[in-house]
């Protein structure tokens, strides 16, 4: 029998194929699916959005929001039928997460470099309120080119916030090129360490490794945690994997069933 979370990740990917018959950023969504599945189904204490002690999640790379919507619906925060309204006129689901649009969105994002400062504010408030929950922020690797990320990075370590967990979905592709050609990912670890974070690098599609890593947080007391999760843009569909164009393309109708079968493992 297959692992429960693995099955959920597969279902989320299948849902994304259906949702992305319009709109862009499917590749970005597919790269973050496994991280989301492990966080929401194995790690975070988040059974109700009304629970003041719930763990918080912010998708700072807001353009991958379809994956978050599908995860939240799978988790039962809202009816899965709502996913069919993704990007539709009069629907509930915008192309970037909007706080208050559906339950489970903690912060509105979409412009890069905003999620980490907000998460750090939440973490700081939690510390002063003696709350034990954690705040998870997922950023893109390209996103780390924004200066506000680094302003926040140096603050988190100064405030000794070991309740903030930043995850870089390092799929190595951004708008025009591979990230490595624009700002080398291989220097991330040293940079974040220099900013006072405990850094670990893992395979962002290895569910066991993700789970094990998250369970060890904080890696060190009083030090913020950063996970560089190496991922594959378009993960799960061979013709999308590591392809820049799937930052932009939507799924042609005639390919839906082929991709579904591929995800089912029939191809």
């Amino acid at each position: 029998m297959k692992n429960h979370t693995e099955n959920i990740a597969k279902q989320i990917r299948k849902r994304l194929i259906k949702m992305h018959q319009k709109g862009s950023h499917l590749g970005s969504a597919l790269s973050v699916v496994d991280i989301l599945a492990v966080l929401y189904f194995d790690i975070m204490n988040i059974n109700s959005f009304d629970d003041p002690d719930r763990d918080r999640f912010i998708l700072s790379k807001g353009h991958a929001c379809s994956a978050l919507y599908a995860t939240l619906a799978k988790k039962g925060f809202f009816n899965e039928e709502i996913l069919e309204q993704y990007l539709s006129n009069d629907g509930l689901l915008y192309g970037h997460p909007v706080k208050g649009s559906v339950p489970g969105i903690e912060a509105s994002t979409g412009s890069l470099g905003h999620g980490l400062p907000i998460g750090i504010g939440m973490a700081y408030a939690a510390k002063t309120n003696n709350k034990k929950f954690k705040i998870y922020v997922v950023m893109g690797d390209g996103e780390c080119q924004e200066g506000s990320v680094w302003e926040a990075a140096m603050l988190a370590s100064r405030l000794k916030l070991d309740n903030i967990v930043a995850i870089i979905d390092a799929n190595n592709l951004q708008g025009f090129d591979i990230v490595e050609n624009i700002q080398p990912i291989k220097t991330f670890k040293a940079k974040w360490e220099a900013f006072g974070w405990y850094v670990t690098e893992i395979d962002g599609h290895n569910l066991k490794e993700l789970k094990k890593t998250f369970k060890n947080i904080p890696f060190e007391k009083n030090i913020p945690s950063l996970i560089i999760a190496h991922t594959i843009k378009g993960k799960g569909i061979a013709e999308m994997e590591n392809k820049l164009e799937w930052h932009y393309l939507s799924v042609p109708k005639e390919k839906v069933s082929k991709f579904m079968e591929e995800l089912e493992g029939k191809r």
Binding site: V98, K99, G100, E106, A107, S108, T109, G110, S111, G113, H114, L116, P117, I118, G119, I120, G121, M122, A123, Y124, A125, A126, T128, N129, G147, S148, E151, A152, M154, L155, R158
Partner: protein
């Protein structure tokens, strides 16, 4: 005005552990007492305004009542997109305190002038824009800001501004102008640190037997439409006064009301021309340079109403 701000905040923080004050490393000699009294509620976040706005948004989501302190252009324009998304889009009740209204930091040059701040804050949905006219109004604005459900920008001077009100106005509320003098001919509608000048203009016009009204329009957004409509019934000449670009500030908002409500009045905007300074000068020097002294304004009004 800075002192009035911090004194009021100290008073409020005595009874409210959730009040937070964050500075991006400005406020030397002003904020120390707050830090001493409430060290757990104070943070010098470092010179990082964009980060400061985001962190304040998160703190507010965590139940804190956050006041942010920085020089006006840096807290409005350096981090404009953070204000837009992290505060306005999500309607988060963080209070931005911008010091150095208009030309306060005169000879520091245009990097430190705030002549576009009202305009850019005005155009943000959910934002309340407040320019208190004297230290008394600063205190009331800070107190009232805690009742807002969304973000606000409070634009204050630096130090040494006199009290214009003889006593604390009992009915001060955000979005409602204060009529300090009632007149029949000319109405002076001033915001922020031009209120003192408005009173001087009033005195000059009074000597010329011009029956003049004075309004402190401390809240520029939402603008007190009713007060402008009511004043327009008596005074057929309205002069707006602000230390801000002539585009997008108080004068523009009053002009909007006049056109939308089809009011039969003449409007003259006293403001800073749409350009950056091309001369070194302190605040008084630059006001004179731009025709914003009481004498210059009175003379201009007299020539226009002749």
């Amino acid at each position: 005005m800075r002192t009035a701000f911090i004194n009021k905040l100290i008073e409020l923080a005595r009874n409210d552990k959730n009040i937070y004050l964050i500075t991006s490393d400005t406020g030397f000699s002003i904020l120390e007492e707050f830090e001493k009294l409430f060290s757990e509620q104070y943070l010098n976040i470092g010179i990082s305004e964009a980060n400061m706005i985001g962190v304040a948004s998160g703190l507010s989501l965590g139940g804190k009542k956050v006041f942010l302190y920085a020089i006006a252009p840096f807290i409005t324009m350096r981090c404009f997109e953070q204000v837009r998304i992290d505060l306005c889009y999500q309607n988060i009740p963080v209070k931005l305190i911008g010091v150095g209204a208009g030309l306060t930091y005169g000879n520091a040059g245009a990097t430190h002038h705030s002549i576009e701040d009202i305009a850019v804050m005005n155009c943000l949905p959910n934002m309340t824009v407040i320019c208190p006219g004297d230290p008394i109004e600063v205190g009331k604005a800070v107190e009232e800001s805690l009742k807002l459900n969304g973000p606000c920008y409070i634009r204050i001077g630096k130090s040494g501004e006199p009290n214009i009100h003889k006593e604390v106005p009992g009915s001060f509320s955000l979005g409602k102008g204060i009529r300090l003098r009632i007149g029949e001919n000319v109405a002076l509608v001033a915001t922020g640190n031009m209120l003192e000048t408005a009173i001087k203009v009033y005195e000059i016009l009074k000597e010329k037997n011009i029956d003049t009204e004075v309004i402190s329009m401390h809240t520029v957004k939402p603008i007190d439409k009713e007060m402008i409509i009511e004043t327009s019934k008596r005074c057929k000449f309205i002069a707006t006064m602000e230390e801000h670009n002539v585009i997008g500030g108080l004068g523009s908002r009053v002009a909007d009301v006049i056109t939308e409500e089809n009011l039969n009045v003449r409007l003259k905007k006293f403001a800073i021309p749409d350009k950056y300074v091309d001369v070194v000068g302190d605040q008084d020097y630059l006001r004179n340079y731009y025709g914003l002294t009481a004498e210059q304004i009175s003379e201009k009004i007299l020539s226009l109403i002749e």
